[in-house]
């Protein structure tokens, strides 16, 4: 496989932080599944907005406020196009994907789920797509069912029809933050609908790395975070099918989300304001818009092709060099995985491993990755995780491999 897709050097040059040297050596940032670095264009868009156009949105008549409102709403339109949503009023800005998923569970869930109702999840969900549903188990007595995994970390769909039988919702990740597995979203949405359930997609790990098309998927909700897609932290997105969002009760109450408030009650605003109570992260939303422009300029299909190439190369390099001493979790088929790898190495605990890698400025995550049920299933407390993005190149894989060798020197296994 060639890598004619991306000019990684030119891309990397646009990320100021990646130019930084620590202790005289360059950084090798392999933790983008956790959070991504920011290109100059995003940094500039946010500071220019603060320098030139910052004002409240939606509430004031003066020109500056309408400029700020245009910037904010312009970002909403960019999100709409980026995920191919039908209308921009289906795009709700939240704080992060976690809040987006909580919004669905709280608002849709409380209105539509009763004791005994079934919600289906997969065994590889992030806590953000587990705990909000557990809260409804405690509060309303709903039941959870779990789609099991195959040995190579894909969804085992053999029992899916039975699991979905009678279910009200199926909420699943489009890509696992631990295993890197990409799930067959379109097929899963169709299966949910066949069973009369709605389909909720956690796109946190998918949207930053792939072409997203909620209409082609046939999804009902999609949650993702700006900070994992070159945008700032502090803003997330919930996309929802208009008819569902319209029918749902509001989530947070306060300013901006109301049409009217009286001493004896309130009525809610239209979408999307209905779900955007209070002053939103205005500057961050503008930054997210710039991040989408940046990603669009490169092309999501090219980014995906680059990451499939990086995934294949990482698998080849690491297994060639370390054989059975490295255990890469998840599938080796780059058709069904992204460039996020959890691994075990020579019995060295992930914490120790990441500490040693840090000596070479290699940033990898060690821990349970907010997926403790999956960790238990895998029979581990923690893994080390290296995740690659559009600014990582082949050299980064070699540095990782060299740094892993260094770990052996200390622990002497």
């Amino acid at each position: 496989m060639t890598n004619a897709q991306l000019d990684v050097a030119a891309i990397k040059a646009q990320f100021p932080l990646l130019q930084r040297e620590l202790n005289g050596a360059p950084l090798v940032y392999l933790d983008s599944a956790n959070t991504s670095q920011k290109p100059q264009s995003v940094i500039d868009a946010m500071s220019t907005f603060m320098e030139q156009s910052y004002a409240p949105i939606n509430r004031s008549a003066y020109q500056l406020a309408s400029e700020a409102t245009d910037a904010y709403e312009g970002a909403r339109t960019k999100v709409q196009r980026f995920i191919n949503a039908r209308r921009d009023r289906e795009v709700v800005f939240t704080k992060n994907a976690t809040e987006s998923l909580n919004l669905v569970a709280h608002s849709w869930g409380r209105a539509n789920l009763r004791e005994g109702d079934v919600v289906v999840l997969t065994q590889m969900e992030h806590h953000a797509n587990i705990v909000p549903w557990h809260m409804l188990v405690q509060e309303k007595g709903i039941q959870l069912r779990w789609v099991p995994l195959t040995a190579d970390g894909q969804l085992d769909l053999t029992t899916l029809p039975q699991l979905l039988d009678g279910a009200k919702a199926f909420s699943f990740t489009a890509m696992s933050n631990v295993l890197g597995t990409i799930t067959p979203v379109q097929q899963l949405c169709a299966a949910a609908h066949d069973a009369g359930a709605i389909a909720i997609v956690d796109g946190c790990q998918y949207v930053p790395h792939n072409v997203t098309d909620v209409q082609a998927w046939g999804a009902d909700f999609l949650a993702f975070s700006s900070h994992k897609m070159c945008g700032p932290s502090g803003v997330g997105v919930l996309w929802g099918r208009e008819s569902l969002l319209d029918a749902m009760p509001p989530f947070l109450g306060g300013g901006n989300m109301i049409a009217d408030v009286r001493f004896d009650g309130f009525t809610t605003a239209e979408l999307p304001a209905k779900f955007e109570a209070g002053t939103p992260p205005i500057i961050e939303v503008v930054g997210l818009g710039a991040a989408i422009d940046f990603l669009d300029g490169i092309g999501m299909a090219s980014i995906r092709a680059h990451e499939a190439h990086m995934a294949a190369l990482a698998i080849a390099t690491l297994t060639e060099r370390f054989g059975d001493d490295i255990q890469l979790h998840g599938s080796t088929d780059t058709e069904v995985r992204g460039a996020t790898f959890s691994f075990a190495f020579r019995g060295i605990h992930p914490h120790d491993l990441s500490q040693v890698l840090d000596q070479r400025n290699v940033c990898v995550r060690a821990g349970h990755h907010c997926a403790k049920p999956l960790m238990r299933l895998m029979g581990v407390n923690a893994t080390a995780r290296a995740s690659f993005y559009l600014y990582n190149d082949e050299h980064d894989i070699d540095v990782l491999a060299d740094a892993l060798d260094g770990a052996t020197d200390i622990f002497g296994f």
Partner: protein, 148 residues
């Protein structure tokens, strides 16, 4: 950046490779489980206390070299000690790890409490994220003491 040799001292690696007092104690021994919510590590501490003295201690669970070796050294240090001396040792150890007391004040080292091998863990302070690893067993020990 502080060097790894400050963290991974030979004695720490030795306890990591050959942890002491591994195992379980049957009830009525007290048993506490400690979690490091950041990394998912778990430690089990089992305690037998006879006539105010820690007569036996066992450690179970999984963790990184720092949490495992700290647990191993802790088990050696407290075995055979009266409970009040154990509490003083916990306090001294936490002080070494720059953990403040209940009122948020620094813990002054008590010279009458000897740390022995545990001093090897001093370097952990230079790696603040790892302090939680080093103190996990000690907090779990306190919980096990509370259970009696």
């Amino acid at each position: 950046m502080p060097g790894l040799e400050d963290l991974y001292r030979e004695i720490i690696l030795d306890h990591h490779r050959n942890p002491r007092n591994r195992g379980e104690l049957a009830p009525p021994a007290s048993h506490a489980v400690g979690h490091n919510p950041l990394c998912g590590d778990e430690i089990d501490v089992y305690l037998d206390v006879t006539d105010g003295v820690v007569s036996d201690v066992k450690v179970g669970g999984q963790g990184c070299s720092i949490s495992q070796s700290s647990a191993s050294m802790m088990s050696q240090a407290v075995k055979g000690k009266p409970v009040d001396e154990v509490r003083a040792l916990v306090r001294r150890f936490k002080g070494m790890m720059s953990i403040p007391d209940e009122d948020g004040n620094p813990i002054e080292p008590d010279p009458s409490v000897k740390l022995g091998d545990l001093e090897a863990l001093q370097g952990v302070v230079k790696f603040p994220v790892r302090i939680k690893c080093a103190t996990l067993a000690w907090n779990t020990l306190l919980e096990a003491l509370e259970q009696r």
